[in-house]
Amino acid sequence: MYSEKVMDHFTNPRNVGEMPDADGVGTEGNPTCGDVMKISIKVKDGRIVDAKFKTFGCGAAIAVSSMVTEMVKGKTLEEALSISKETVANELGGLPPQKMHCSNLGADALKKAIEDYKSKQM
């Protein structure tokens, strides 16, 4: 069902954790209907230098979170904002169709984290 890459990120997720000194934090989802992702980012000179996640959810949700935190590191905020459900799924070698919608919340949580960061700058 899951690609090898999904299984790899699910069973050995990268960047698990909280970030006490996060510059931005975003949470997406709802445990009563499925998956929840919480992404924390550290920003320096307009670039995301570190990212961590905590996820409540299925294998796909964990793999997506892991992949998003990997993809985002070193990217400018603009670049990071261009990450979409599709680009994450592609990086993972595809996701089962029924998982595309519900468990693929990484990009959304990331956007929220970036917004959080931006709102704090204002």
Partner: protein, 410 residues
């Protein structure tokens, strides 16, 4: 890697003796049971022998057994076949919220055809109260269908008591015993039921064979029309190998029932004891009125599919009623009907044991399970509590009382 199959509620491996019994009918004895020459007669006799074996498992007469292709078909047949046969007497039927999809969706079909359906509520254990059944009966009620045992939470319903309620009012009673038959003692005379569904693959028989018990003399409208197979009540060339396999599986289940129940229950109790040592893990279903091989839980703060897949990666096969683990992406309606909050239902994990499991399997499971839970809780944002979701959770805890302190009730 060690392989431990703990998903017997999904389907069972074939008993080697069942396999052996089927093979001749996949080879030289391929005749059509309707054919009047020796090859056909041998097939026909094999089917009739299987019918006797299946009847004997549930203390029925052979003529009361109609073979089907699955438990789902038997359920559709029972519900719709009786509702239609008796529609001139009334158009109300009663089922419960614990039922399998094959009952619930058949009931919905009947609703579209103008029937009224009552879906009975259940308590926190999943138990159906015979008094509530009684109160739901109207003058229009012609059929009550209640699940015998749930494959999701293992509970065994008080079928005998509910059947008695139905009998008193002259209402036909069906029970879906797909998860029960072959796993616990099921006796149609003692239960006093009119119809009963079963499936071979739930007791080490093959996929492709189910049966509906229909009490002698009861009229039922066929689900599959055609030739005169199954006495004109279920058409289609008989799946001889599968039927023969179901017969053999029934014979073995009958002979070994108490031994199987005993050994499987011992392992199950060990499993439950071990798992409930983990914090914030709750047993679902009834503490005692449950299938001997059934252990079902909700694990807080993590999700079922993730648990299930990490366990499978370690050779341990289980099931979950979480939304993400179902191909329909819906949390088990049974768990929700029992009042379990949706967030907690996501943490559903179900282990169903069988005769192929050993003590070492349990040890292995307990060890790996702890690791998997620990791992996933490390990843979970809720490991220290549900946070804003706690409110829901607390309400639930209060209304459900001591059940969720499993130490007290197990």
């Amino acid at each position: 890697m060690r392989k431990c199959y703990f998903d017997h509620a999904a389907t069972n491996p074939l008993h080697p003796q069942v396999f052996d019994a089927m093979i001749p009918f996949l080879k030289e004895d391929f005749g059509n049971p309707m054919s009047v020459y020796d090859l056909g007669i041998r097939a026909k006799m094999a089917i009739e022998n299987a019918r006797t074996q299946v009847a004997s498992l549930i203390n029925a007469k052979p003529s009361e057994i109609i073979f089907t292709s699955s438990g789902a078909e038997a359920n559709n047949f029972a519900l719709r076949g009786i509702a239609l046969a008796r529609q001139n007497e009334g158009k109300h039927i009663i089922v419960s919220k614990m039922e399998h999809h094959s009952i619930l969706n058949s009931a919905r079909f009947l609703e579209k055809m103008g029937f009224a359906v009552t879906y009975l509520p259940v308590d926190k254990y999943g138990l159906i109260d015979p008094d509530i059944v009684k109160k739901s009966i109207t003058k229009e009620t012609t059929l009550i269908s209640i699940i015998h045992a749930s494959s999701e939470v293992g509970i065994i319903e008080p079928i005998k008591e509910i059947a008695m309620v139905a009998k008193e009012k002259g209402i036909i009673f069906h029970t879906d015993a797909v998860a029960a038959a072959g796993n616990i003692s099921v006796d149609v005379k003692e239960l006093n039921v009119d119809l009963l569904s079963m499936a071979a693959h739930q007791f080490y028989g093959p996929k492709g064979a189910g049966a509906l018990y229909v009490r002698e003399g009861l009229r039922i409208v066929p689900l599959i029309y055609g030739g005169i197979q199954e006495n004109g009540r279920r058409a289609g060339t008989e799946n001889v190998p599968a039927i023969v396999g179901m017969g053999k599986a029934a014979e073995l289940a009958k002979a070994e029932l108490s031994a199987r129940m005993g050994s499987v229950k011992k392992l199950r109790d060990r499993l439950v004891d071990g798992i409930l040592k983990v914090e914030n893990v709750y047993l679902t279903g009834h503490p005692t009125d449950r299938l001997p091989g059934h252990a079902s839980f909700c694990v807080e703060y993590i999700e079922g599919e993730a648990m299930l897949l990490l366990l499978a990666a370690r050779g341990i096969y289980s099931a979950s009623g979480s939304a993400c683990s179902s191909k329909a992406l819906k949390a088990s309606p049974v768990l929700l009907a029992m009042g379990i909050p949706a967030s907690l239902a996501q943490g559903s994990i179900v282990f169903t044991l069988g005769t192929d499991n050993s003590d070492d399997d349990i040890k292995y499971l307990l060890n790996e399970f702890l690791q998997v839970i620990t791992r996933l809780r490390e990843i979970s944002p809720y490991a220290k509590g549900w946070g804003v979701w706690r409110k829901v959770d607390n309400v639930f805890r209060k209304s459900n009382g001591p059940f969720y302190k499993p130490q007290e009730c197990w």
